[in-house]
Each structure stands twice: as C-alpha cells, then as structure tokens.
Symmetry: C2
Subunit: 401 residues, 2 copies
C-alpha cells in the first residue's frame, strides 16, 4: 500500500523558492510594483508555496475561473471546486506586468507574479455557483464581493510562508512533511479531521471512529483567518493537545495546521478540503454535519452529498461521512443519529453560544460534552478576554457552528 498521489497524479509542486534562487528573486521583488493582497489571497499564496494546491502554478485565468465555477473543471481537465484568484482595482497592472505580491497586513513580500491576463468577472455568478447565495451576510460572499475590479492570472514564485512556520513551529507541516511522516510511521490509510474549533467529545468521537478502522488521523487545523468570535489557533491547538495526550492512544493522531482562510463555502469547500488533503497524503477526509458551512446557508449533509456528484476519478482522497454526533444518556455513550434510536431529550446538546457563555462565566461543561482538561484550557482563554470582548464573542458566535 502506498499513500494517495498528489492531486493531478504527478509530484508535489511547491512554488516556494529556496537557496540562491530565493535570494535572487527576493532582490528582484523589491524592484517590482507591489500589489497588496487580502488575507484570503495571502493564505492561497502560502498554500501554493508549500504545495498544498498542487498542481496549480499560480492564480487562475478567466477560462479556468469559469470552468471551476460552472463545472469544477479547469481548461486542462483538472478537477477543482473553488476558484483560486487574485484581484486588484489597479488598472495599471495588466498582462505582461511583473509584480510583487505583498501581505496586506504585514507588508511582507510573499511572492512575485508574471501577469498573463487581466480580466473581469461576474462576482454574483461566482457567489451563486460556489456559495449558492449572494447574501452579503455570508462571510465567503462578502469576501468575493469585496474583491477588486480586475482579476489577475499568472504563475507565481513564492518567497515566504508568511510567518506561519515561525508562529506555529512543528505544527505547520507542509504536504511533503506530512507525507514523509506518514511514510516513516507506516500509515497509508489516514483520515484528515478538518477543524477550526476546539475538539469536544463529539469531535473526539468522529476522530476515533476513523482510528478504529484506519492507521491514524491527521487533526488538521485551519491556521488562517476565521470569523470574528472564533477561538484563535494557538488556544485551539493547546485544547487539542491536552485532549490527544489524555484520551487518544499513542501513535494514532498527528496534529498539524494549514495556512488557508475559511471561505465557508460548505459543500464546495468540503471538496477543496479533500483535494488539498490528498496533497498532504490523507486517504480520507472526515465529513461531518455542516462541514465548512456557516449559518443556515447549506443543508446539514450537503457537504457529504456533493461527493456523490463528482466524477469517480476526480479525487483519490475519499469522504468518510459521519452523522451528527453527541452523548446520549440512554445509549450511555457517544453516538450519532445513525446509531442512536433515542430522542433529543436523551442527548446532551449545547449550542456554541451556550458553551461560550458557560466557559466565559467559568462554569464547567458537562463531562459528556467536553473533557475537563479541554474545558480548562478554554475557560482560561475566556477569562483572559475583557467583559466587553466576551459579549462581542457571544453575539458574533450566535450564528456560527
């Protein structure tokens, strides 16, 4: 048995330069006109840099954008579920321009780009196809609608991982690194558990179902930007570490993170999650309830169903669907709607809002809902927030899952 192949069937294609090529390109980059990129674009650049978006070599052309929006297919036939695009309002940047792409927040130059196309898109069309809505309340839609007037296509050379390695250390593993790790420890059947939240018992259960029948689980945390009110990556990481240390058997979990921002595109994003997990070497992606969703924009199992609608050979990494999970008093254990015949009244269900308010008031969570060690880490975090911040978190958190 071998690991799944990188997407497209070839080798990993990290666009990050190294050694003297990097030094030379950095020098050249400083001479180029700069384009400040958004947080989402910065995440995509770094992902291209580390090979997570293999086999892309840069930002998409208009034809690819259209093919991806309308049929999840690039002009070369490659399966791709969400446009990876760069935008600007600067009319001066055109086909033929050489530009430097700088982080909009830090100003760091992340990449250089040879622009080969400047084009306009129907943003609402992208939103309808990819996000299934044009509602500005949808944070992914808001990001698309806030893009510049023009999209720019072209290959990029990546010059930096934007501080992720420095900030997250060993946890920021590249696809080559996770693959090397899996090979070293002999894993081939690996389920990725996508997370942007701390893991409570329902998430532990999802991961353990995978561990029961596979070699192990990659708990793969989003390290990029989230909605306001979501718990920062370093707190999540600590909460996950205490869980793994106390409740998982040795050598069954690897914790790592990846640099993207959430798009909250639900089903389409679940496909992207599976696609880049293939690059990281995972054979499966755990797809639970409302995967990558937000508010009520998607049906709770739309992100599972979409895997039945794509061509069988689109992805080597397969979805592992699991229903809504919880503790049930009558079952006397963790269960899901597929395995528990009892009613809502028998189940320990707490909304995100309720959990946040309990934690910020220093209350313990029921042990059937969250491991005490995990709750302690979160209580500490909320205790450190000001009263005002806590209210904000609570209000913002209302529609989040």
């Amino acid at each position: 048995m071998a690991l799944v192949n990188p997407h497209g069937g070839g080798a990993l294609k990290p666009l990050l330069l190294e050694g003297s090529a990097l030094t030379a390109e950095q020098a050249r980059a400083r001479t180029l006109p700069q384009l400040k990129v958004s947080s989402r674009e910065a995440g995509d650049i770094i992902m291209l840099g580390i090979g997570g978006f293999t086999p892309l070599d840069g930002f998409m052309t208009r034809a690819d954008w259209e093919g991806v929006c309308d049929g999840m297919k690039m002009t070369n036939g490659l399966f791709w579920p969400i446009p990876v695009t760069l935008s600007t309002d600067d009319e001066a940047i055109k086909a033929g321009s050489d530009i430097a792409l700088a982080d909009g927040e830090t100003g760091e130059i992340l990449a250089t780009m040879k622009v080969n196309e400047q084009y306009t898109i129907d943003k609402a069309h992208e939103c309808m196809e990819v996000y299934k809505t044009t509602d500005m309340e949808h944070p992914g839609v808001k990001m698309v609608m806030a893009q510049g007037k023009y999209n720019l296509a072209g290959a990029i050379k990546v010059l930096s991982t934007g501080g992720f390695k420095e900030k997250y250390g060993e946890q920021f593993m590249t696809p080559a690194e996770t693959r090397a790790k899996f090979q070293e420890i002999g894993w081939t059947r690996v389920a990725a558990f996508q997370t942007r939240n701390p893991m409570h018992r329902s998430h532990e259960y999802l991961a353990k179902i995978a561990i029961e029948t596979m070699d192990g689980v990659l708990v793969h945390s989003l390290l990029g930007a989230l909605k306001p009110g979501d718990i920062p990556a370093e707190v999540r990481s600590e909460a996950i570490s205490v869980l793994v240390d106390n409740y998982f058997a040795p050598n069954t979990v690897i914790q790592a993170g990846y640099p993207l921002d959430m798009r909250y595109a639900g089903p389409r994003e679940a496909l992207l999650h599976a696609l880049f997990r293939q690059n990281y070497g995972c054979s499966h992606l755990i797809v639970g309830r409302d995967h990558a969703g937000v508010g009520d924009f998607y049906g709770p199992f739309d992100a599972q169903k979409i895997f039945d609608e794509i061509p069988k050979d689109a992805l080597e990494t397969k979805n592992m669907n699991i229903d809504w999970t919880f503790w049930c008093n009558k079952c006397g254990g963790m269960a899901s709607q597929r395995t528990c015949p009892h009613t809502k009244d028998d189940r320990i269900l707490l909304s995100g809002t309720k959990v946040r308010s309990m934690l910020s008031e220093g209350q313990d969570l029921p042990v059937e809902f969250s491991r005490p060690e995990v709750a302690k880490v979160l209580q500490k975090y909320y205790a450190g927030l000001s009263a005002e911040e806590n209210v904000k978190v609570e209000l913002k958190g209302h529609s989040a899952r």
Copy 2:
C-alpha cells in the same frame, strides 16, 4: 453503486431444486443407496443449496482439496480457503455411484450426488494447513480426524434446507433474499457482523462503528452446530432482537442466520466468512479479535492479518478490522485498544466463564458490559437449565471465547 458480485463473478448458484424437478428428484433419491452425512457436511449441503457457497457445484475433488489446503486455490483458479468435502467409510461408494445424502441425525434426505471421484487424503496435512495444528483438543481438527476413510467428490442436487426455514422463519434468509432486501432498501455498503454469541456492548460497538460509516449491518448468526456449552441460536436471536430494538436506530440492522457449523479455523475461516458474505451481498466483514478462533490456537489478530496475504482480487468483500473492544471508565465510553490510552484496570472486562456464572446465579451484569434487556434474556435461559447443566456449561465454556 451496486452490490458486490457473487464469488467468482457470475450469478448466484443455488443448488436447491424447485417445483417438479424437486419432486422428481425426491422420488429418485428414495431409490438410491444412502450415505449418512455429519452435521458439518449437512450444513455445507444446505449452504450449497441456498447459493451461499457459489460457485461450487458440489463436494471437492482431490485436486481441489489439495489446491485449497496448500494455496487456497481450486484447479480452475478460484480462491477458496477451506476444503468443502464429504467423507465415508463405505468402500462400495465409488466413482460412478449415484447416492442420496441423508442427515445423520434426522435421516432426512438432503441431496443426491453423482460421485465422480473417491479418494483418500492425509487428514493431518489438512489440519496443519487449514487449522495450523493437529491437536485433537481443537474441535475443527477433531471433526476432520473423525471423517471417513474416503472422500467423495461430485456435483450435488439439493432437495431440502434441512428444517432451517421452518425452525428460524424469516431469519433464515438465503443470499438471494438478503441481496433483494439490500436492493429494496438501497444498501450497497453493508458490513456483515458474524456472530455465534449473544451481543454484549463490545459487539454492539463493533456493529455501530460500521453503521457510522456504512449503509447498515447484517448481524449474521451461525445457526448450525457449536461447541457444547455455547448458547443456542434461538436464545441468541432473542437477545440480539432486544438489543436491536432498544439500542439501534431503525433501518440500520438486519438480523439473519446461516446454516453452517463452526469449524473454528480462525484465519482461514475468517476468509470463508468473507467469501460467503460476498454471496449474501455484503461489501465488508467485521473482523474483530480472535475471529472464528478457539482456545489459544491463533494469535488474536491472525484473522485480520491473513487478509493482507491473499491476492488483492481474491474477494470483493473486504475485511473491516477492529481491535479488542470494551468499556473504559477513564474514556467514559466504549473504546478499543486503538482508541483507549488507559490501562486494564480502567476497563470493564469479564471472561466468558465469569459472565456465565453471574448469569446462571441470576446476577445482573454491569451496564457497561451488557444491556440490561440482553442480560435478562440470558438470565432466563440459564435459569431454565438444571443445576447440573449449568455446571457443565461453565466447565465447557472455560476455554471458549
């Protein structure tokens, strides 16, 4: 998605005659010399009758016996892990003989056979290859060593299902019937849970892991003969029914039974279990600890490992390996050695002997070990046994798992 194909890739091949062909052959059978068959042979005949041993058309020749013993392969290239043979001490039955095969216990004529070969075998060789031992304490070895001097090969015509349908009613489903049922309810990913015991929580957990990620589970009970001291099929069936009714979600479990005797061949029998589950339409066989084993003749996970040693295309039905399962107090839930990092002291583990003695004394089992509804059914059964029988059950049960 479609169901897995019957073994060999063709259609199901039930050898049971019907209608006027049955009536005519029954009349002819009464005129033929009779061979009384053993309980194991009777089970095999009925399994051939209902198509569970598709694509076999009768008992194996010497060449097939040898190929199966030595390389799990028949002369036509078909994968088969355990010899399906018929024996006699009667020298008068030879190639060319037409005989009737009668149940050794009831005398009912089960089949007719055109003998095309009479041959002798090295029984110890069969035992070493298939059972990995010639120890007469092994019940499968004992059965082989008790066989007649000659094996008889030839195609059979099956005339009866030996009373299983009458005794077990709807629970005795044929492969055609389980397949039709799966198709009716839209199942294609179906895990078979092989059982010859009542289901305690550890077994419930195995089945539920499968249900979490598949369409459903076929709880498939052995209805043939077991070791002395094992619980009769009708009691097991009642205990499983109360479990399913109270603790499984609707439409996730089908309970059925099959007519074979246990051979206790461990790894080789696990392969046979997967093979005939393919005929029943199951995509997976759950393989737990010491599957189809007895005493300490096999390593606890030998029956899982053997699936890695057979050719990839030998079987469409795949193994779903699950480690030793139990309740763990520190986990606060069901777990296995793959998912629980704690120690033996934290786990609720009861030997079969202990469970039997508690039940026969009318004691309750811990709710973490067995569902109260299940324990009640078993208590009632043990209460109905005489004190003497209980002692016997307890002693015999000592080496059983």
